[in-house]
């Protein structure tokens, strides 16, 4: 167990293993993305209230829900950095932040485009929307903090603390629609009955899109982390060898 844990913390081991995973992850993502997008755009029935704007849900919901996974992931990686000083954990924490920022930004943007015709406004100071905006600024804060501190170790510690503190916002975002009267509707409960609200025709393609976007997130995180490994380990023999061997 401890051997495995120590091995996992080795950037070189992660670099080599993730290189083997990537083609499979790419294949799975492409498949799910093609099926999900085709289904969402062509086969999902028009909603009785919202018409074709329901198709926006198949982008908005996966992106928004995966943006909520970023802060907890960054907080766990930060805790590992603080306790075990594992180098890889901090590299992952560093690479999650910009991805989380983009996911949160896209969730806010698609939500605004959806809200404009349906609610009659692209923005409201509603608990769900406001807490999501706070998450956006927390990501900006983490990225700014990292770039403000020169020493890699000190930056790692500072960002770890901020990630752990900022993760409090995630349950607030999640439950905001239940705790307060909001313009944003609460989470839907799915039904297996085709003749009931939220039938499989609506949620199966959504599940496929969530899977596809999750894979996109994982691939993007792996790619960025591999770059970070090369940069931080550039003086080690294995990276020098890798660079002299590479084509470009």
């Amino acid at each position: 167990m401890w051997v495995w844990f120590a091995k996992l913390g080795s950037p070189r081991w992660f670099y080599e293993l993730s290189g083997k995973w990537l083609p499979w992850l790419y294949a799975a993502m492409t498949l799910l993305m093609l099926v999900g997008l085709t289904w969402a755009l062509l086969f999902v029935p028009e909603d009785y209230q919202q018409g074709h704007t329901i198709r926006i849900m198949y982008v908005h919901v996966p992106v928004a829900s995966i943006s909520l996974a970023c802060f907890p992931l960054m907080a766990v990686a930060g805790a590992i950095t603080l306790v075990w000083k594992m180098k890889l954990a901090d590299m992952v924490a560093k690479c999650v932040a910009p991805i989380g920022l983009w996911f949160t930004g896209l969730a806010l943007a698609t939500g605004a485009i959806w809200g404009q015709p349906i609610w009659g406004t692209w923005w409201a100071w509603d608990a769900r929307l406001t807490s999501m905006l706070i998450q956006f600024f927390l990501f900006v804060g983490v990225i700014a903090l990292r770039s403000a501190i020169e020493s890699t170790d000190a930056a790692a510690k500072a960002c770890a603390v901020l990630a752990i503190v900022g993760a409090i916002n995630v349950p607030i975002i999640k439950y905001s629609v239940e705790w307060w009267n909001t313009l944003h509707q609460p989470a839907s409960s799915i039904s297996f009955d085709s003749a009931a609200p939220n039938p499989p025709e609506v949620w199966v393609p959504l599940l496929i899109m969530i899977g596809a976007v999750y894979l996109l997130f994982i691939i993007s995180l792996i790619l960025r982390t591999r770059n970070e490994i090369l940069i931080r380990e550039r003086r080690s023999q294995w990276v020098t060898d890798l660079i002299t061997r590479s084509q470009s």
Partner: protein, 77 residues
Amino acid sequence: MPTLQFSSLSEFVQMGTYSFHVWVVYLLFVLFVGYNLILPGVQRKQFIRQQKRRVARDAELATQAASRQGLNNRSAE
């Protein structure tokens, strides 16, 4: 079973009255996917190119230093 919701291409493009909203969201999503997959590759290539240049420059500096060292040694003789 899911059935096709559109009978013509123009109907598909129009999306009821929501062509602008639906298509802007999907355009943003495609750009987002592309950005997330392509950017790390570009950064990787940049880094490798920069490292290769650095290695080459270091090697050159080393040979220069070595030849200067050789000249100095000779002049001292």
